[in-house]
Symmetry: C2
């Protein structure tokens, strides 16, 4: 179907998905770009291409280029997007020797996407997000996951303190006051790696619940590191120990 009018139902729905409120109400979000649309297979409600789109995906709808440009969120649009269905992951119990990531109040959409991508690369078993985290269906987050959003179970709105009471895995939080390094911490058994807010780290309440607080060594002059970098260093120390 070819769409030329901004008042078309599909165009109006896609436009409405810019707002979290509407994404939640409809249970839909947008994945834009050739690669993401391919990764989204099995999650797609429908696809929309621009008239000038030259890729190999057969779209459900086509919009004229001007109209597509208006609804696209990217600077150099590839001319293809998918409207995808959210899928709530339900945590039904831990696996043996699992590796989980728990994020508390991560605010930056790019950091969130990058951590999801790293956890997926590392083969982690799932990601728990506290209520205060940025929306994973934010277009910038979806983009920076590079498709990993569709690969790994993500448990939203988790009470992380409560989670730690109910699982056997050892919880290890990155903390500037940690008393040992990740390299001195056993991550070969079931492990939950906890990363806190970019500016404030993890809350005192969560720090008390964690089994261990670890400090990533910083022999140089920087006083802190990017949250997605801290997550990567912790996650890959677990990968290294498990090799």
């Amino acid at each position: 179907m070819f769409i030329q009018s901004e008042s078309n139902r599909i165009i109006k729905e896609i436009n409405s998905l810019r707002l979290k409120k509407n994404r939640e109400k409809l249970g839909l979000f947008i994945a834009e770009g050739e690669r993401l649309v391919k990764e989204a297979e099995g999650h797609i409600a429908y696809t929309l291409a621009s008239q000038g789109y030259k890729g190999d995906i057969e779209p459900d709808y086509t919009a004229d280029d001007r109209l597509y440009g208006k609804i696209s969120d990217t600077i150099n649009p590839q001319g293809i997007l998918a409207v995808c269905r959210m899928r709530a992951s339900e945590f039904t119990g831990e696996k043996k020797n699992s590796l989980y990531i728990a994020l508390e109040n991560i605010q930056d959409p790019g950091n969130m996407g990058t951590i999801i991508r790293t956890a997926d690369a590392a083969g982690a078993d799932g990601i728990f997000l506290s209520k205060g985290c940025v929306d994973i269906y934010n277009p910038k987050t979806v983009r920076s996951t590079m498709g990993s959003l569709f690969h790994i179970p993500i448990y939203r709105n988790t009470d992380i303190c409560k989670l730690l009471e109910n699982i056997e895995a050892v919880s290890i939080a990155a903390h500037l006051k940690g008393d040992k390094t990740p390299y001195e911490t056993d991550m070969t058994k079931g492990t939950v790696i906890i990363i806190g807010n970019e500016a404030n780290g993890i809350t005192d309440q969560l720090a008390e619940k964690a089994d261990a607080l670890v400090k990533i060594p910083m022999p140089g002059k920087a006083e802190s590191m990017n949250a997605s970098v801290a997550a990567a260093i912790m996650i890959y120390e677990a990968v290294r120990q498990r090799m």
Copy 2:
């Protein structure tokens, strides 16, 4: 001095620094925000605050809030910025057991800033940038270094292939076709860690020159990782081995 007019010489100069061309011509760039301005000490040409600025830096100039809002690059400006002098780092020879980072054609300003911050945290001895890298004085890069730009020697416009011919340090490049992992690679002696372009990795020419190509293991479903994450995993493996 209190500035109210857009045609003021200082305001015009600051505005002109949005463009790389002008930054290079004047040898100046902008560091915005309380923390960055404090880190910039020793590099500052002058500071400008908004009238409503409430911090503890004594500015050289004050602009009315409307005017400051217009020249600010940040969404929630703290009302203080410094115009800083670029300082060219000249590489005068390697240190014993040095740790260097070499970046080839890194394009994303946020990745560039994050890698500089991570290298600084790790206490690396310097960062070499190929000609094709994004400008480190781009406001987004300056911001994401969180001040590390002022801590660590950065050698711009480096011919990395030539560099590798002239130094003794072992060069180790992250590469999807690497034949061993970073964990099987000795980084305790003088080391250059090489990270390539976000989409394409390092060039074939550079891959041939490197002493070793290593692949970060990806046991999960993601096929690649963010460049600043790959850099962090490599850099911190060197930190771990040197502890």
